[in-house]
C-alpha cells in the first residue's frame, strides 16, 4: 500500500473535489453566503443614502458584513455530512488529516468567491475610497485564511450538536474576535490612506493568527473527528 502521508495531498484534493461537486449541484452554502452578503450591503447602502460614512467606520462595516456572511455558510461543510448521513462512512474511511485539509480548502474557496462578489459591491455602494486597494487585498487574503482556519474546526465541533446554527456563531465569535479587531483596525488605517509600512504590526499578527489557527485546527481535528 502506498504511504498514507505521501497521499495526503491527493486525498485532500479528493475531499475538496467531492465538496465542490456537491456544492455545484445544490449551491446551498454559496447561495446562503452570497444572499446574506448582498442583502446586508443593499440594506446598508439604502440606510446610508447620500450621507456616506467615514473611512474608519467603513472598515468595521466591511468586516461585519464578511463575518456574518461567512457565518451563514461555512458550517455547512460538516453539517451537510451529518444531515445526509454520509459522515459515518467518511469518518470510517477518511483519515482526519486529508478530510480537514479538503474541508479547509473548500471553505477558503467559498470565502474567496464570496469576497470577489461582495467587495466590489461594498466599495461601489458605500463610496469607499479605493486608493490603497493593494494593501486592502493583503488584509483580505490574510483575513480569509484566518477566518477559514478557525471556523473549519468549529464547524466540525458543532456538526453533531442539535442547535448547530446558533452554536456556530456563538463558538466562533470569541475565537474570531482578536482577528476581527485587528482586521478592522488595519482596514481603517488603509482606508484613510496608510501604506503597508504603517500596518506592519497588524500584518504580522494576521500572519501569526492564520498560521496558528490553521496548524492548531489541523492538529486538533483528529480528536474532534474520531471522538
Amino acid at each position: 500500500m502506498p504511504s498514507r502521508r505521501a497521499n495526503l495531498v491527493s486525498r485532500a484534493l479528493a475531499v475538496l473535489a467531492k465538496d465542490i461537486r456537491l456544492e455545484l449541484r445544490n449551491r446551498y452554502a454559496l447561495n446562503a453566503i452570497l444572499m446574506f452578503g448582498i442583502t446586508t450591503l443593499t440594506v446598508v447602502s439604502f440606510a446610508l443614502g447620500q450621507s456616506g460614512l467615514k473611512p474608519s467606520v467603513l472598515g468595521a462595516l466591511y468586516w461585519i458584513v464578511l463575518f456574518f456572511s461567512a457565518m451563514s455558510g461555512l458550517a455547512h461543510v460538516f453539517i451537510r455530512e451529518e444531515e445526509a448521513g454520509t459522515a459515518l462512512l467518511l469518518r470510517l474511511k477518511g483519515d482526519p488529516d486529508p478530510v480537514f485539509l479538503g474541508k479547509l480548502m473548500f471553505n477558503v474557496l467559498l470565502l474567496t468567491l464570496m469576497t470577489i462578489v461582495v467587495t466590489p459591491i461594498f466599495f461601489a455602494f458605500t463610496d469607499t475610497p479605493s486608493d490603497n486597494i493593494g494593501e486592502f487585498t493583503v488584509l483580505i487574503v490574510l483575513g480569509l485564511i484566518g477566518l477559514s482556519g478557525a471556523t473549519t474546526l468549529v464547524a466540525a465541533i458543532i456538526a453533531r450538536a442539535s442547535s448547530r446554527g446558533a452554536l456556530f456563531a456563538v463558538l466562533s465569535f470569541p475565537v474570531l474576535m482578536p482577528l476581527l479587531l485587528v482586521l478592522v483596525k488595519a482596514s481603517q488605517k488603509v482606508l484613510i490612506g496608510s501604506g503597508l509600512g504603517n500596518i506592519l504590526t497588524e500584518i504580522q499578527f494576521l500572519i501569526a493568527y492564520a498560521v496558528i489557527m490553521s496548524v492548531g485546527s489541523f492538529l486538533l481535528f483528529k480528536f474532534v473527528w474520531r471522538d
Binding site: 500500500m1 502506498p2 498514507r4 497521499n7 491527493s10 486525498r11 479528493a14 475531499v15 467531492k18 461537486r21 456537491l22 449541484r25 445544490n26 445526509a84 448521513g85 454520509t86 459515518l88 462512512l89 467518511l90 469518518r91 470510517l92 474511511k93 477518511g94 483519515d95 482526519p96 486529508p98 474520531r226 471522538d227
Partner: protein, 204 residues
C-alpha cells in the same frame, strides 16, 4: 494475515447496558455472525469493532501479522455495508466509488468500476446520481463501494436489507467469494444470513 481481537467489550447508552463482556478473536478467512433480538446491540458492537464508537470497557485490537493497525489505516482496509450508512445522493454511483477508493489511497480504473458495478447488478447505472436510485440499488452500490477498496475486513449489518431476490442472491455469492480472503462480521436476525458465517456471537 489479519486479526481482529476484542476483549471484554461492554457498552452503555444513557445508563442502560447494551452488551457486556463480549470477546472475540478472528483471523483472515474466519467469519462471525452477531445475532440477537432488536435492541440487543448488534449494530453498536459492529461500530465498536470498527472504531466508530468507543466502548465503555474493553479493548479492540486490529493486527496485520503481529503489527497493530492504526485506526486510520484500518479505515482504508475495511468495507462496511449497513442500512444507516449513506452515500452521497448528489454524486453519481461512479463518483461515489472513486471518492471512497481515493480516500483509501487505492487506485481504481474505469474498467474496475464497470466490473464492480456489473458484479452488483448496476451495470449501465454508474453515471446516474444516487438520488435517482431505488433503496435496493443504493444497497447494491454500498457493496460496490465497500468491495472497490479491496477490503481485508468486511462488516455487514443487515446485509440484504432492501434487496429483492436477485439482490439477495448477489450478496450471498459475494459473501461466499470474500469469506475466505477477509475477516467478515455479519450482524443479522435472519437465519438465512447468519448461516453464511462459521461462528456466531449471541447478544441479548
Amino acid at each position: 494475515m489479519f486479526k481482529l481481537i476484542a476483549e471484554n467489550l461492554s457498552h452503555r447508552f444513557e445508563g442502560r447496558t447494551v452488551f457486556r463482556d463480549v470477546s472475540l478473536d478472528l483471523t483472515t478467512g474466519q467469519s462471525l455472525a452477531v445475532i440477537g433480538p432488536n435492541g440487543a446491540g448488534k449494530s453498536t458492537l459492529l461500530q465498536c469493532l470498527l472504531g466508530l464508537l468507543r466502548p465503555v470497557k474493553g479493548v479492540v485490537r486490529r493486527l496485520e501479522e503481529e503489527r497493530s493497525i492504526e485506526i486510520s489505516e484500518f479505515g482504508e482496509r475495511v468495507g462496511f455495508v449497513a442500512p444507516y450508512v449513506q452515500l452521497y445522493d448528489q454524486l453519481t454511483g461512479e463518483e461515489n466509488i472513486k471518492f471512497f477508493t481515493a480516500l483509501s489511497a487505492r487506485s481504481v480504473t474505469g474498467k474496475d468500476i464497470d466490473a464492480i458495478l456489473e458484479r452488483v447488478g448496476l451495470e449501465g447505472r454508474g453515471g446516474d446520481e444516487v438520488r435517482a436510485y431505488s433503496s435496493g440499488m443504493k444497497q447494491r452500490l454500498k457493496y460496490a463501494v465497500a468491495l472497490a477498496g479491496q477490503p481485508d475486513f468486511l462488516f455487514l449489518d443487515e446485509p440484504t436489507a432492501n434487496l429483492d431476490d436477485a439482490g439477495r442472491k448477489i450478496v450471498f455469492d459475494l459473501v461466499e467469494e470474500y469469506r475466505s480472503r477477509t475477516i467478515m462480521v455479519i450482524a443479522t436476525n435472519e437465519t438465512e444470513e447468519y448461516r453464511l458465517a462459521e461462528q456466531t456471537c449471541q447478544l441479548g
